[in-house]
């Protein structure tokens, strides 16, 4: 699979070229368009793994797109405006915030992180997916994407976390030592990222955006 990222940074579109027989797996809903040489298969992978993905904030279905009878092209995008990047999976493995996952090559196994429910549930709907295998993964952000090299300890707002290398440990915690301080700071929950490795942050926080705009909209029916 060859990936070409267009209209970066704000309106990014991932253009994926598939050789005959090649496949790409994507989050349901990410499809913008595809050539007719591409066939789509829905793979819920069983009810349980589908439900597990839903708990992780992803959609129930993940789709496979396969080029048949020739080369194929598939286009993917994210619902909110922002940038995309391609992460190489293999020598480095990644954890990715569920809403940042867009697509991956089939050799990359993307699973809901074990202990996700207990260890990673932040109350902010943050779940992590974890990669295994070798290939490429496309991630999409809300806003700009920035890679921060971590040597030691970095504190990141959970809403700004996009992806981090598996060599890093990621622990949810308060932004200040006391709960009162955390509440007053408005910084909410943060992620303590520790170790050596690469961290990707997104410059906008979807939860804050939704709260800022959504509160001004007309009430919905309960």
């Amino acid at each position: 699979m060859q990936v070409n990222l267009l209209y970066r940074p704000s309106q990014a579109l991932a253009q994926c070229w598939l050789a005959p027989g090649e496949r790409v797996i994507a989050e349901s809903g990410a499809l913008v368009g595809m050539s007719t040489h591409v066939r789509m298969e829905t793979q819920a992978g069983g009810i349980m793994s589908g439900l597990k993905r839903m708990l992780a904030g992803e959609s129930f279905y993940r789709n496979a797109f396969a080029a048949e009878g020739g080369e194929g092209e598939v286009l993917f995008a994210t619902p909110l405006s922002g940038d995309m990047t391609v992460l190489e999976v293999g020598d480095r493995q990644w954890c990715v915030q569920s809403s940042a996952y867009v697509a991956s090559s089939p050799e990359v196994e993307v699973k809901t992180r074990s202990g996700g429910l207990r260890g990673f549930f932040s109350g902010a709907g943050l779940f992590a997916l974890e990669t295994a295998g070798r290939g490429q993964m496309i991630i999409g952000a809300f806003g700009a994407l920035e890679e921060l090299p971590v040597r030691g300890h970095v504190v990141v707002d959970t809403g700004h976390l996009a992806a981090w290398e598996s060599t890093l440990s990621c622990r949810i915690g308060k932004s200040t030592p006391t709960w009162l301080g955390t509440w007053l700071s408005g910084e909410g929950l943060v992620c303590h990222v520790e170790g050596n490795g690469s961290l990707w942050v997104q410059s906008r926080n979807a939860g804050r955006y939704g709260a800022a705009i959504g509160a001004r909209l007309a009430p919905r029916q309960p």
Partner: protein
């Protein structure tokens, strides 16, 4: 008349300079950003009231369009669409036609005619899409939510399939069919619902975002109303 599109793909703006008095541009109502004082603006109902009402009913386009006319040489103005995104320009020659997703129309030169083509019979209407047909001789500008991606069907690709919500415009050499993509079930979330499949020879334009996805994202953040 000279024209230039600036600030794509984030915040596309159309800059127009009329070199001679009498030159005109027609724009969707509300699209004007600024104009020199020697440009007259007249609000009109293009193609008569009946045709404008039909446009309003079928394609959701504004009932009124504004015609801007230079009354002196070297007058300039700027036009912009409502959402953040890009602007694209097409040169139409006699005999050519282009179909625009409702709401994508931004502006056109006086030689262009807009017609709301009823797509019910062909399935577009059922797919939540309604189209404006543009023909004639001149220029037409349309806009997107997000970036605009062009695909040459029949050259780059034998055929192309796109999500209905990302479809922006296409030329008349293309045949299309609206259908549900096999295996895409809307069990919990709609995901990709309806798609449009294009065959033939022509150009297709897609937008990288869709307004429906934004409103679906914002919906849960709305305050919950009382029972009254």
């Amino acid at each position: 008349m000279r024209d230039e599109i600036r600030d794509n793909p984030e915040f596309g703006v159309l800059h127009v300079t009329f070199e001679h008095a009498g030159e005109q541009i027609i724009a969707e109502s509300g699209a004007m950003v600024a104009r020199d004082a020697a440009i007259d603006m007249k609000t009109s109902v293009q193609g008569g009231l009946a045709s404008a009402v039909k446009r309003r009913l079928t394609a959701g386009e504004s009932l009124f369009q504004n015609t801007f006319t230079a009354t002196a040489p070297m007058q300039s103005m700027r036009l912009a669409p409502a959402p953040e995104g890009s602007i694209e320009r097409i040169v139409l020659r006699s005999g050519m036609e282009v179909f625009l997703q409702s709401g994508a129309y931004l502006a056109s030169s006086p030689g262009i005619t807009l017609d709301a083509k009823w797509q019910g019979a062909k399935g577009f209407f059922a797919g939540g899409l309604s189209l404006l047909r543009a023909y004639g001789e001149g220029l037409i500008w349309f806009s997107s939510y997000g970036g605009i991606h062009a695909i040459d069907v029949g050259r780059q690709h034998e055929g192309y399939l796109c999500d209905n919500t990302h479809l922006l415009a296409f030329t008349e050499g293309l045949r299309y069919q609206v259908r549900k993509l096999a295996g895409l079930k809307g069990l919990f979330l709609s995901g990709e619902g309806l798609v449009c499949e294009f065959q033939g020879h022509g150009r297709l334009w897609l937008q990288t975002r869709n307004p429906g996805a934004l409103s679906a994202f914002l919906h849960p953040f709305r305050p919950v109303g009382g029972s009254h």
